[in-house]
């Protein structure tokens, strides 16, 4: 390798790894962030406080009691702490999330009459949560109803529909959100780290003045750009096994595909994001500007990547941004390799797209960069 590039490599490694804050940013922060994001960004509905009104009805109504007990046993629900006499008031005050109200005379008797109407009051200020609760309770009521039909031969609550789906949930049978979220968060962390680190590195030199000394030597633009990218590509890549191991150990992430393929895809992705970082630093004059530039890219990039919200849900006029976003392709690769075992067609296509993006960001930086002031 060129002597100048070797010098850059030694210098950037020394400077980055020597700084305790940088070490923290590189090796500890990703694990902490991954844990926080993986746990907090769960879209599963849990800990729903369920009440039955009026108080004491549960003991007198066997069918209602069965529904209530099954709900609590499912693990999604918690019993309300205080008895609820006015369900509206209890929901408004935020004491409970859902209230079951049986018809007058009790649910058991109503079902026996052939009129199994059980009222469910839901707090829908959080729509996703309310939908989750409704889905859970429907399922529970249906199983109780079906059992009832068999036992008593009577008219069931909610007659079994004539057409039923035989649903099989593939690749994530328990529908754990972490399995879906963690690959997204992993990509985001690598992206954030490499862009910020790379773009700050060159602008820091511009700010302190060492940049002027640097380009007073007969170095070429290619040498400076490569000297400022290769070290950060290597540092960024060193993060992948760390984050991956954390994902597998902390979140039981399956690893069904080829590790080599994943490593190669990660390399191309990191080259691409480091390229974006270096491009930002050819525009920014100081560290503040490059920080701003980094976040200006990162916010839309994480939102429009399919990490949390499916790309198909993004309105047309914004969706093209998602297709220009390297995160989109890497998240797809990660999910594909980790969960599905990796379809070579999809993975290689996405790697190709990422390589093209890397070519443009680094090529663009080379065009913009001048070894003059």
């Amino acid at each position: 390798m060129n002597r100048t590039l070797q010098g850059f490599l030694r210098k950037e490694f020394r400077q980055t790894l020597r700084d305790p804050r940088m070490r923290l940013l590189l090796f500890v922060a990703p694990i902490i962030q991954l844990s926080i994001f993986g746990v907090a960004l769960s879209t599963e509905t849990r800990n729903v406080r369920l009440a039955v009104a009026p108080p004491g009805i549960v003991e007198r109504d066997p069918l209602l009691r069965e529904i209530h007990d099954k709900s609590l046993a499912s693990g999604w629900f918690l019993p309300a702490k205080t008895p609820v006499s006015d369900p509206f008031e209890a929901i408004r005050a935020g004491r409970v999330d859902a209230v079951l109200v049986p018809p007058p005379g009790g649910l058991t008797r109503a079902v026996a009459r052939g009129d199994g109407q059980l009222q469910l009051l839901l707090d829908a200020t959080n729509v996703t949560r309310a939908q989750g609760v409704e889905r859970y309770l429907r399922t529970i009521a249906a199983t109780v109803g079906a059992a009832q039909t068999l036992v008593s031969g009577g008219v069931a609550l909610g007659t079994p529909p004539p057409l039923q789906f035989d649903v099989r949930i593939l690749f994530n049978p328990t529908m754990r959100t972490a399995v879906f979220m963690v690959p997204g968060v992993m990509s985001m962390l690598v992206c954030l780290l490499t862009i910020i680190l790379t773009s700050m590195s060159l602008t820091k030199e511009k700010e302190t003045g060492t940049f002027e000394t640097l380009i007073s030597a007969p170095v070429t633009a290619t040498e400076v750009i490569l000297g400022k990218t290769i070290p950060f590509v290597l540092l960024g890549i060193s993060n992948i096994p760390l984050i991956l191991a954390a994902g597998i150990l902390l979140f039981d992430l399956p690893m069904r595909g080829s590790l080599a393929l994943l490593a190669f895809a990660a390399l191309v992705f990191v080259i691409c994001t480091v390229g974006i970082g270096i491009f930002i630093s050819t525009i920014a004059r100081n560290q503040q500007q490059s920080m701003m530039g980094g976040f200006l890219f990162l916010f839309p990039a994480t939102m429009l990547s399919g990490m949390m919200f499916p790309i198909e849900n993004i309105p047309d006029f914004l969706r093209w941004l998602a297709y220009l976003n390297p995160l989109t392709y890497f998240i797809e690769i990660l999910r594909n390799i980790l969960l599905k075992g990796g379809s070579p067609e999809l993975v290689l296509r996405n790697i190709g797209i990422l390589a093209l993006m890397a070519f443009f960001t680094i090529g663009g930086s080379l065009r913009r960069f001048r070894t003059r002031l």
């Binding site: 060492t210 007073s216 030597a217 007969p218 003059r372 002031l373």
Partner: protein
Amino acid sequence: MSEILAVEARHLTVRFGDFAAVKDVSFTVRPGEIFGFLGANGAGKTTTIRVLCGLLAPTEGVVRVGGIGFENGAEPIKRKVGYMSQKFTLYDDLTVEENFDFTSSLRKLDPAIAARRRQELLDFISFSRPLDTFVRDLPGGLRQQVSLAAALLHDPEIVFLDEPTAGVSPAARALFWALIRKLAASGKTIFVTTHYMDEAEYCGRIALMRSGELIALDSPEGLKRSTFPAPLYELSPRSEGARIRIPELKRDPAIASLEAYGIRFHVAPRSEPEWERALPELRGDFEIRRIQPSLEDVFIRLVEGGNR
């Protein structure tokens, strides 16, 4: 064989948009010369140096450094010169050794040669601390010396020093200038900017810049002679009452210029006979002493005087 000039600028103009930082400047520097570049902040000194180091392209005019022009880009010039900018030139978070290592890799020096040069230069600046000292732990004066050594690592013929002694203690400044004179004695051309007039006295020739223009270029002695053809006098007021006469004296036809220097005043008479006539009357209020003009007098007369 005619001697190749170290630096040659002909009608050099540098514009940033509508603003001309350097306007039609011409000068030459001979090899082995200590060439001082003086001027107020924003006079165009740094811009000129940046052009001569190949960091900025001239808008107009011709520049040749070590006999090389811009025809083949800035790289050939960059190889010839050493540059120490007025900002940070060393990495604070690297050790002295690591800084030299990076500089030598930037210049693509052979490791063995670079190691030998480094030792020579460290001996030259009498550096006695461990090589694994972090630059941030060095005192300011020493840091400047290490900076100088790093700028000399590739053995350039011409060295550009942009305010190398700014913010350094007087003792460290004296030491630094001893190094500069040693370098010039060894045949290197030194092109230096400074704000300290005592330092400017060490220069072989001085160029004075004011708002982008070159207003004077001569040896320190020559500058003093041409700026103050008549002798210069120092007036020390004998009383507070004498001070009140100063504005009146400024308008006196016998006096060409009168500048305050602390509690004293420097006066340049318009002509010897007129001054002789005014003298007896002035002696009542002032103690009068004939002095040699300093470069500071020259600087104030030429640079600041021009702004009035």
